[in-house]
């Protein structure tokens, strides 16, 4: 295998050299426990504070103490949902979310159902957009939280987060958004967008894995979900701060937000070029997602008559790394819950492949991918009992 092309940046990204540089001293020089009172501890805490400040600036939080470090997107989502539900259960036990959320949110909601909470899973339209009228219709007197993701990880659709937050606050309901795929893709201003809680992850934007954050607006009631330490993260999140990862995460967010406009231009050019080539060389396919309101870094395509995993595996043999729906569900047999919610037929949903671009993806990469894709599709269609043209 000579050439390798990584088009799975929505799953994870490489750690950039600037980020790595920021992290390195934290392993063997600034190695103190950020909770210690001595100089080693204070140095480590200074690193954590610096990162917190960078993230505060990147999402325009009003105070740095509204940023809580976690072990990643999943913990942030789980904590937001479970923590808010437990702390506000006296006001009501109803939560609204959507059918296309990441499983970090969906499974936390399923857990709450076992605890006696009621969850409304809003449908989406064929482009993957939550309908605001449906949202209004679902709101009840006992609704305490609305959680809708900013950017969908499978198809890249961008929700009307600001409008949803406005609706939530009109009814005195808290609003959480899973922004794991959104930071660095769209501009995020938690004050302007009126967001109460926002989940972030580091490894989607060239930071290290195993670290993320939850923004919790001051005044929002939230219970901890980890019990252990009492001092870390102002008593809200127990566990020794992962100083190297936090340092890297802070740097990664700073860079991603600073470069988000220029990166988006790159993604848009690559995505359009990919679509142009696809139209030129491939028959019988559909693009899943929203035509305009979308992350340009994600392109989800269903190839008719064939199944996504076999496309993935044959592309992998040609050195091309893509994913079917999302990496988290790649071992599942069912079609993507996101595509199902969008009304995509099962056999078409099973034929979905997600290409997610990086800042280093070139047009020559796309040319190579399309050439290989043409071969792979022809090979699989030749042995499929489903005739692509008839779908």
């Amino acid at each position: 295998m000579e050439r390798r092309i990584y088009l799975d940046n929505a799953s994870t990204t490489f750690v950039s050299s600037e980020v790595l540089e920021e992290m390195m001293p934290c392993f063997n020089v600034i190695y103190g426990n950020a909770g210690s009172l001595h100089s080693y501890g204070r140095e480590a805490m200074a690193v954590v504070d610096k990162a917190r400040d960078r993230i505060k600036t990147a999402i325009n939080a009003s105070k740095a103490n509204e940023i809580y470090f976690t072990s990643g997107g999943t913990e942030s989502d789980d904590w937001a949902i479970l923590g808010v539900a437990h702390a506000n259960a006296d006001k009501g036990k109803h939560i609204i979310t959507s059918q296309i959320e990441h499983h970090a949110v969906l499974n936390a909601c399923h857990q709450l159902e076992k605890e006696g909470f009621e969850i409304t899973y809003l449908p989406v339209n064929k482009h993957g957009l939550v309908d605001l009228a449906e949202l209004l219709h679902a709101i009840r007197k006992d609704t305490i939280l609305i959680s809708i993701m900013a950017v969908n990880n499978e198809v890249g659709t961008i929700q009307n987060v600001k409008a949803i937050a406005k609706i939530a606050h009109g009814y005195d309901i808290l609003f959480h958004t899973d922004a794991v795929q959104a930071v660095g893709v769209m501009s995020i201003d938690v004050q302007d967008m009126d967001i109460d809680l926002l989940s972030m992850s580091s490894h989607k934007l060239h930071g290290p894995k195993g670290v993320g954050a939850l923004y919790v607006r001051n005044g929002v009631k939230i219970d901890p979900i980890l019990f252990g330490g009492i001092n870390q993260e102002r008593g809200k999140r127990a566990g020794t701060e992962n100083v190297p990862a936090i340092a890297g995460f802070g740097k990664a967010v700073e860079i991603a937000v600073k470069n988000h406009i220029i990166n988006n231009k790159k993604f848009k050019t690559i995505r359009e070029y990919f679509l142009e080539k696809l139209e030129e060389k491939v028959d019988h396919y559909q693009v899943n997602g929203h035509p305009h309101q979308k992350a340009n870094s994600i392109l989800n395509v269903s190839f008719y008559g064939i199944e996504g995993e076999s496309v993935l595996m044959l592309l992998d043999l040609a050195g091309i790394c893509v994913s079917t729906s999302s990496a988290c569900t790649s071992k599942s047999l069912l079609p993507s819950h996101v595509l199902q919610a969008m009304g995509v037929a099962d056999d078409v949903a099973q034929g979905a492949v997600r290409f997610s671009f990086g800042t280093n993806t070139s047009k020559s990469d796309v040319d190579y991918v399309i050439d290989e894709l043409v071969k792979v599709i022809a090979k699989l269609r030749a042995i499929s009992p489903i005739q692509a043209g008839r779908v």
Binding site: G305, I306, E307, E309, S310, M313, L314, L317, K331, S332, L333, L334, P335, A345, D346, D347, Q350, A382, I383, S384, P385, I386
Partner: protein, 139 residues
């Protein structure tokens, strides 16, 4: 995740395609679970599977399982072909990941579906033959 044998069969299936003159065709599976398998057999007058081919919509394991199933039944009598189980398919493939075992089950079912179709055709043929022998009632 997949054994060498699965990948080898997935990349270069030996029995993929449609079989000219097939007299037994069976299809199993559905798009919801992600696999549709179609098995084509040519069974001779002595009840021996002379040739077998397949077409599959599905993952690597599904494609490899049907390809192996074709190998397993070629040259066998109908009776022996029906004895082939999903375990035989898995054994031939070396191994399958636990969540892909159902692919081998589908492969077994596709053999049965094709043989069922063969019997249906036989039944229809004998009925037709019987009809031809029926004499027109004399007025």
């Amino acid at each position: 995740m997949y054994s060498k044998k699965v990948m080898e069969r997935f990349q270069n299936p030996r029995n993929a395609g449609t079989l000219q003159g097939a007299n037994a065709v069976g299809q199993v599976g559905n798009a919801t679970c992600g696999d549709i398998m179609k098995m084509y057999l040519k069974i001779n007058d002595n009840g021996i599977v002379e040739d077998a081919k397949f077409r599959t919509f599905g993952c690597c394991a599904a494609i490899a399982s049907t390809d192996i199933a074709c190998d397993l039944i070629k040259g066998k009598t109908i009776e022996d072909a029906l004895k082939i189980s999903n375990k035989d398919v898995v054994d031939m493939l070396g191994e399958l990941p636990p969540h892909k075992i159902h692919c081998s089950v589908l492969a077994e079912e596709s053999i049965r579906a094709a043989i069922e179709d063969y019997y249906k055709r036989l039944e229809k043929a004998s009925k037709d033959a019987l009809k031809k022998t029926r004499k027109k009632p004399t007025k």
